[in-house]
């Protein structure tokens, strides 16, 4: 099978310094993009430039380099907002998806009372499950989970059954980090809103693969991490509709998030700063902005198209290997570029170790989705997750290495 090759991967890969080195004396085949992406030199340089040329704190000094830093930091908010079609005030920087979701559980949780219900799905990452679960325990809320169908999609009939006027929050993963399933978030948003509930999207696995327009999705909140979209670790985003953020209590208290402080009383800064207490991750925000510039340059539509071709190719290649079982929707159009699979008779960690010796980085384990693993009846899976810099040759090498593992464990 040939693919159209919408992107010039050869040229793109030159931007990523990590691909210039060898691992176990072989070229690095990085197929763990679901865990974190690699970083182009443009991102690394932008952060180095900050440290080398204008390192200073933001929103404080009136001197030249502090003004440059403040400008760059605010510009990062602006670029991020623009990237997801939000307004400047609606983008809060956090340390990652996990913190964004915890922020929501904490602040929205304050307004919930016993008997209120929260709806999640059976395919949530621990970070979109444990914060709500703990909140539910503290406050006596009911947690409900939308079931998964046999073809690894959300059971929308079940969703319509359990999302009711008692539901206050529906929080769902956009693209599953295990199954790859792209969930019908627009439909879920409408369903949540019809019942008066807030709709939250965990976008950790969609932001780097699909063009995102929060207005069109009509979600109330959208969370994602910089490090999965070419940016550095330590920076993430929480988008929230402005009128909702305005009425929410802050999450963290301290410097920068206040307007006026007296000994007994304080008032809060305007959005988005009300939710950004303390010195923020300035360098990382600048890195994230550079990552967004890079993604825009390549074009999110083209990325989506190319990754779909790559996923189709990988699904076909893997399903042609005897003894390999793939979990997740069978059509590439229904899924992101994440493929979880098992090799019959070999533990996922043993598969991963053998692949590693071939220079191939994949993940083996439960992927922070233990309840889903139980549901699939496995303790773990191998997971290959692709980005736009991966190639069909790399997928061929993956297939060869899997066959090698089968030989070792014969």
């Amino acid at each position: 099978m040939l693919i159209k090759q919408t992107l010039d991967t050869k040229k793109i890969r030159e931007d990523f310094p990590i691909f210039k080195q060898l691992t176990h004396n072989k070229p690095l085949i990085y197929l763990d993009n679901g865990a974190t992406s690699q970083k182009p030199v443009q991102v690394i340089d932008a952060m180095n430039r900050f440290y080398n040329e204008y390192n200073s704190n933001v929103h404080r000094g009136v001197y030249k380099i502090s003004e440059l830093a403040t400008h760059a930091y605010e510009e990062a908010h602006r670029k991020t907002a623009d990237f997801i079609k939000a307004e400047f005030e609606e983008v809060i920087f956090t340390k990652g998806t996990t913190e964004s979701l915890n922020l929501l559980a904490y602040t929205l949780g304050r307004t919930l009372k016993q008997g209120d219900e929260i709806v999640l799905s059976q395919m949530e990452h621990h970070s979109n499950l444990v914060p709500w679960q703990q909140l539910a325990k503290q406050k006596g809320l009911a947690l409900k989970f939308i079931r998964i169908t046999k073809d690894y999609k959300l059971d929308m009939a079940h969703a319509r059954e359990i999302i009711t006027p008692k539901t206050k929050i529906v929080s769902i993963v956009h693209v599953s980090n295990v199954l790859g399933t792209i969930n019908p978030v627009k439909e879920l948003a409408a369903l949540a809103h019809k019942n008066g509930a807030l709709f939250v999207i965990d976008g950790a696995q969609s932001i780097q693969h699909l063009p995102i327009n929060v207005k069109e999705l009509d979600c109330d909140f959208f969370a994602f991490s910089g490090h999965k979209m070419l940016g550095p670790t330590g920076i993430g985003v929480l988008y929230g509709k402005r009128h909702l953020l305005e009425h929410m209590e802050p999450f963290l208290y301290g410097g920068d998030m206040i307007s006026e402080v007296q000994f007994e009383h304080s008032t809060w800064n305007e959005l988005p700063w009300k939710f950004e207490a303390g010195t923020p991750n300035i360098t990382e925000a600048i890195g994230l902005a550079a990552a967004i510039d890079y993604l825009k340059e390549i074009n999110m539509e083209h990325i989506k198209e190319y990754e779909e071709e790559l996923t189709t190719y990988a699904l076909e290649t893997l399903s042609n290997i005897k003894g390999v079982r793939v979990y997740g929707p069978t059509e590439a159009g229904d899924r992101g570029s994440v493929i979880a699979f098992n090799v019959e008779g070999i533990h996922p960690h043993d598969v991963s170790t053998i692949l590693d010796r071939e220079g191939i980085a994949v993940r083996g384990g439960h992927h922070c989705a233990m309840p889903l693993m139980n549901l699939l009846g496995v303790t773990g899976t191998v997971r290959a997750s692709f980005s736009f810099y991966n190639t069909t040759e790399e997928i061929d090498k993956l297939a060869q290495a899997i066959k090698k593992a089968q030989e070792v464990f014969k």
């Binding site: 043993d350 053998i354 010796r357 384990g365 303790t379």
Partner: protein
């Protein structure tokens, strides 16, 4: 074709222990029963030890997981039979790694050391006189 590097980690004796593990099953008449998990891989080991005098007179295990954790348990159970409990408390991580005889990286080390952890935690529970049931 299998390269040298692979042979190093999945040596034939590791694979033998994995395919045909020694001392599997449950002991009805046990003094120590303890289970540990490795959340990273989902490896599980439940160990049953019979103590007579101060000696481990019998040992069995139930487990599932990767080749490294299961082979390590099989080998460790062979090693501890008829040994003094005080000796077992002193087994070091290095000894287990040497026993395996393969290079284990920092991540897979958790798999390799799971049986030792299970054994030594089980002994501590037993010494405290706690009910030695599944934790």
């Amino acid at each position: 074709m299998i390269t040298m590097e692979e042979e190093e980690i999945y040596k034939e004796n590791i694979l033998d222990h994995y395919r045909n593990p020694h001392n599997t099953g449950e002991l009805q008449d046990y003094s120590i029963r303890h289970r540990e998990l490795n959340p990273l891989c989902g490896d599980q080991i439940e160990l049953f030890v019979k103590v007579e005098g101060c000696r481990c007179s019998d040992v069995k295990f139930c487990g599932k997981g990767c080749a490294i954790s299961q082979a390590a348990t099989s080998m460790l159970t062979d090693k501890i039979k008829n040994k003094n409990i005080d000796e077992l408390k002193k087994i070091t991580q290095e000894e287990v790694v040497n026993m395996l005889g393969i290079p284990v990286g920092i991540v897979r080390l958790k798999c390799a050391l799971l049986p030792l952890k299970t054994l030594q935690k089980g002994i501590i529970k037993w010494e405290k006189g706690e009910l030695c049931q599944t934790n």
